[in-house]
């Protein structure tokens, strides 16, 4: 069996405190959740997954090119039909010949995808597993109160942490948590004892099927639909509440769905845990459990800190609950085929180096802007950090209509011309949107870092591309 060679994790910077819900509703349904992460208006499972995937690859010293197997696990794919691993792979630079699969429909899918990667036969390269989720429920529902956002990723190769045992168990328990076709909100019937029994029985079933000794684990990364349930069943699973606490992000990030147990594993690996029980659960109900031995301390790259606090009104805006959607006047039209031609630039800052004069050009098309040659370009990829050359913060009323809904949800953004360096020196200017949150401010001369976010959605097709965030540190 192959091994976990490196891991990555990402959660949005935006946080809301449980107290905000209590003030708004007089109660908070996310038991045991203190704060939770909230995806920005231009983030979704694909963009968060790309952030975690990039960190896992970077931590392990891998390039996207090294990947020959890619899995994307989520219960909240931005599209119900269309292979999202293609765009995820494009953002991460994964070769077009890689084997890909999407695992969805269950919060267990993150652990399921990791188990699949470990046993995927015949792969010489890196198998990359990305689990990302941002569940959503009705505003007054417990599922929504607990719903967080985050992503975890694992690069699976020939060395690293070994998975010594894996087991799966399933048993019919309909109606505990489900999302009907065409609906974007999960719901449950709220039959408390029945719901708990579904969770307990399937996890016990999977863990009982393991041969490994659970007493020796440092941490137990359990599926955490809220911050209480894992502790409530710990004893039945043969683990202590301390072991559960050592591998959970639910208290800070909320319910991260398919990324829940994977995020627990990444945080345990980051803390140097040597032996970890991982147990993913999904309603229906099914569970997959595994024991990970991390004697070599695999490298981990995480970005899980939150530094921007939202009020409940901010939160409703971010989720589009109280905004009115795109304006009737329409937006700037860029046809999908035309957008698709620019995908290498949008997804990976692919630029060109003039075959005649060697200058960098972005986008690499048409005549060279320096020597007017039409000879063409060598493809190069720009650095992911750059320097602001010119910038404006667009006030709420000043945004073009295709960004009106984004401003309604997230507030003002900046738009900048940023100079990015090339691999062999030189630099080229690229127009980018600057994502602003909290007290962020951007001026000429500031350093910024490229991220991939949703640029806008037109004709129901979301276009993803490079934006920048203020570079820290």
């Amino acid at each position: 069996m192959r091994q976990i060679s490196s891991a990555g994790a990402y959660a949005p910077r935006l946080r809301i405190d449980a107290e905000e819900f209590r003030e708004a509703w007089g109660r908070f349904g996310g038991a045991g959740v203190r704060t939770k992460a909230v995806q920005d208006a231009d983030e979704d499972a694909l963009t968060m997954g790309a952030e975690a995937g990039r960190r896992a690859l970077d931590a392990g010293g891998f390039e996207g090119d090294d990947v020959d197997w890619l899995a994307f696990a989520t219960t909240t794919p931005p599209l119900e039909e269309e292979d999202l691993t293609v765009r995820l792979g494009s953002v991460l630079g994964v070769p077009r010949t890689a084997t890909t699969r999407t695992v969805t429909g269950s919060t267990r899918s993150g652990v399921r995808a990791l188990a699949d990667a470990l046993t995927a036969g015949g792969t010489d390269g890196v198998a990359l597993v990305v689990a990302a989720d941002c569940p959503r429920g009705a505003p007054d529902g417990d599922e929504e109160h607990a719903a967080g956002a985050g992503a975890a990723a694992f690069a699976v190769g020939d060395s690293g942490a070994e998975v010594v045992d894996t087991a799966t168990y399933s048993e019919p328990y309909p109606g505990t948590r489900f999302r009907s076709a065409g609906d974007d909100e999960v719901q449950g019937l709220g039959v408390t004892q029945y719901d708990r029994e579904a969770y307990r029985a399937t996890l016990v079933g999977a863990i009982d099927a393991l041969d490994a000794d659970l007493g020796a684990v440092d941490a137990a990364a359990l599926q955490a639909p809220d911050g209480k349930l894992p502790y409530r069943v710990a004893a039945d699973l043969g683990v202590s509440t301390e072991q559960v606490r050592a591998a959970t992000t639910v208290h800070e990030l909320g319910d991260t769905g398919a990324a829940s147990a994977p995020l627990g594993l990444v945080s345990a690996l980051a803390d140097g845990a040597e032996r970890v029980l991982v147990a993913g659960f999904g309603s229906g109900a099914s569970a997959t459990a595994m024991v990970v031995e991390n004697e070599s301390s695999v490298p981990v790259g995480t970005s899980l800190d939150g530094d921007v606090s939202l009020t409940y009104a901010d939160y409703l805006r971010r989720r589009g609950e109280i905004t009115s959607g795109p304006p009737a006047g329409g937006g700037a039209y860029v046809s999908v085929p035309s957008w698709t031609r620019s995908v290498p630039q949008r997804h990976r800052l692919a630029a060109g180096q003039c075959l005649v004069c060697g200058s960098l050009q972005f986008p690499p098309e048409g005549a060279c802007r320096d020597c007017a040659s039409l000879s063409g370009f060598d493809r190069v990829v720009l650095a992911t950090t750059g320097t602001v050359e010119a910038v404006t913060t667009i006030a709420a009323g000043g945004a073009p209509p295709e960004f009106g809904e984004q401003v309604a949800q997230s507030g003002p953004f900046a738009s900048a011309v940023v100079s990015f360096g090339g691999p062999d020196g030189g630099a080229v200017s690229v127009p980018v949107q600057v994502v602003l949150a909290g007290d962020d401010a951007v001026s000429t001369g500031d350093r910024v870092r490229a991220v991939v976010r949703r640029i806008y959605t037109q004709e129901d097709v979301s276009r993803y591309g490079v934006k920048v965030v203020p570079a820290t540190g």
């Binding site: 304006p327 009737a328 006047g329 329409g330 937006g331 700037a332 039209y333 860029v334 035309s338 957008w339 620019s342 972005f362 986008p363 802007r369 050359e389 010119a390 910038v391 404006t392 913060t393 667009i394 006030a395 009323g397 000043g398 945004a399 073009p400 209509p401 295709e402 960004f403 009106g404 984004q406 953004f413 738009s415 900048a416 011309v417 200017s429 690229v430 127009p431 980018v432 949107q433 001026s443 000429t444 001369g445 640029i455 806008y456 591309g465």
Partner: protein, 388 residues
């Protein structure tokens, strides 16, 4: 090549006119231009028409040229519509001059028109914004205000100019526009008004941005062979210069200058055999206050980085040494996109002919007009002078 002369010019009022169409506004401009010809003008003399419009507020993308010339009775006269965003009718005037100079035509009607005021803000921002670099620049969330704001950020970082200097441009142009009965926003504003208005795209506030307007302009350009039939005091088109550049700001080597303006001005000065010191006043493209400061430098009115001193010291005020935008400019007179470039020539004609009323600049004999498309993808400069 033959000389070309302006013998008449007129504009409709610029403003918001829900009861007018682009055709009826153009008729007003046309009638005023005809009335302004000293020795009278017979419309059947028109050989050719060249008019500018961006797209009539996005509602008439094709054949908008014949739509206005047929409306004003120029049946059968060949009409070409020129589109270069906000420089549409500056380029239309240039085409008219070329037609006359080449010998293809003796009498050419030129001008421009736009109707923008009856659209929702979103529709206006939609179609204006796709007149720049759409696929990259626009999709970072900018309209033109955003792109000029980026230029302002770079300019303010590079020079000792301040946001207050941008406000001074607005105060000056409103003072001028208050004396122009055809101005859209013909009222004076104080420096406090101009400083304290809401931000549109930082550092630009509302007073640093021109309005969107309805309006039309018309100019009659004739050859030296027939000029005597129309006027004994015609205005000679001494110099014409134009240049194109990258449509997107990020593709230019500088963000603190509009290279197309520099090149257009150099060509116009060379053709006219004059320099910036020989100009008595100018109508420049102040779509945003920063654009007027950049124009001072690009047109050679001052050294690089010194533009703010011109507006601080009153050099470009109507009673200064080099009045700029005596009409009120785009800021106060208004900016019906397609009408703007030819509208600048209308003001130059009025001033040089001594018909500018209470905003008349005494003794002016040579004018410069400067019209920019987008954030500098196209620019056109004319030097006009009282014929010897």
């Amino acid at each position: 090549m033959r000389d070309a002369y302006v013998v008449g010019a007129g504009q409709s009022p610029f403003g918001s006119f829900p009861d007018e169409s682009y055709r009826s506004l153009f008729l007003t401009a046309f009638e005023r231009a005809v009335e302004s010809v000293p020795k009278g003008f017979d419309p059947t003399d028109v050989d050719e028409a060249v008019v500018g419009t961006l797209g009539v507020g996005g509602r008439q993308l094709g054949l908008s040229g014949p739509a206005v010339t047929e409306y004003v009775g120029l049946h059968g006269v060949p009409c070409t519509r020129v589109e270069n965003a906000c420089a549409a009718s500056g380029y239309a005037v240039r085409q008219a001059v070329q037609a006359v100079k080449s010998g293809m035509a003796d009498v050419v009607l030129t001008g421009g028109f736009e109707v923008m005021g009856d659209l929702s803000g979103d529709v206006t921002k939609y179609w204006l914004g796709v007149s720049g670099e759409t696929e990259w620049e626009r999709l970072t969330g900018t309209t033109f205000a955003g792109v000029y704001a980026q230029m302002a950020s770079a300019y303010l970082a590079e020079t000792d100019a301040t946001v207050e200097d941008l406000s001074r441009v607005a105060v000056k142009n409103h003072a001028n526009g208050a004396a122009n009965p055809d101005a859209h926003l013909g009222f004076e504003c104080s420096l406090d008004d101009a400083r304290g208005s809401p931000t549109v795209a930082d550092p630009l506030n509302l007073y640093h941005c021109c309005p969107t307007s309805d309006g039309a302009s018309a100019v009659l350009v004739v050859s030296e062979d027939v000029v005597d039939e129309y006027s004994d005091a015609p205005i000679r088109v001494a110099g014409v210069g134009a240049a194109s550049d990258a449509v997107g700001l990020f593709h230019r080597d500088t963000y603190t200058s509009i290279p197309a303006s520099v090149a257009a001005a150099e060509r116009a000065y060379e053709m006219a055999g004059v320099g910036p010191d020989d100009v008595d006043f100018a109508e420049v493209h102040d779509c945003f206050a920063i654009a007027e400061l950049l124009a001072y430098e690009d047109l050679g009115f001052c050294e690089r980085g010194e533009a703010a001193t011109l507006v601080r010291d009153g050099v470009t005020a109507r009673d200064g040494d080099l009045p700029v935008n005596p009409s009120g400019g785009l800021k106060s007179k208004g900016h019906p996109i397609g009408a703007t470039g030819a509208g600048q020539v209308v003001e130059a004609f009025k001033q040089l002919a001594g018909r500018a009323g209470q905003r008349q600049i005494a003794g002016a004999t040579r004018a410069l007009t400067h019209n920019v498309g987008g954030s500098g993808g196209a620019a056109v400069v004319h030097v006009l002078e009282v014929a010897e």
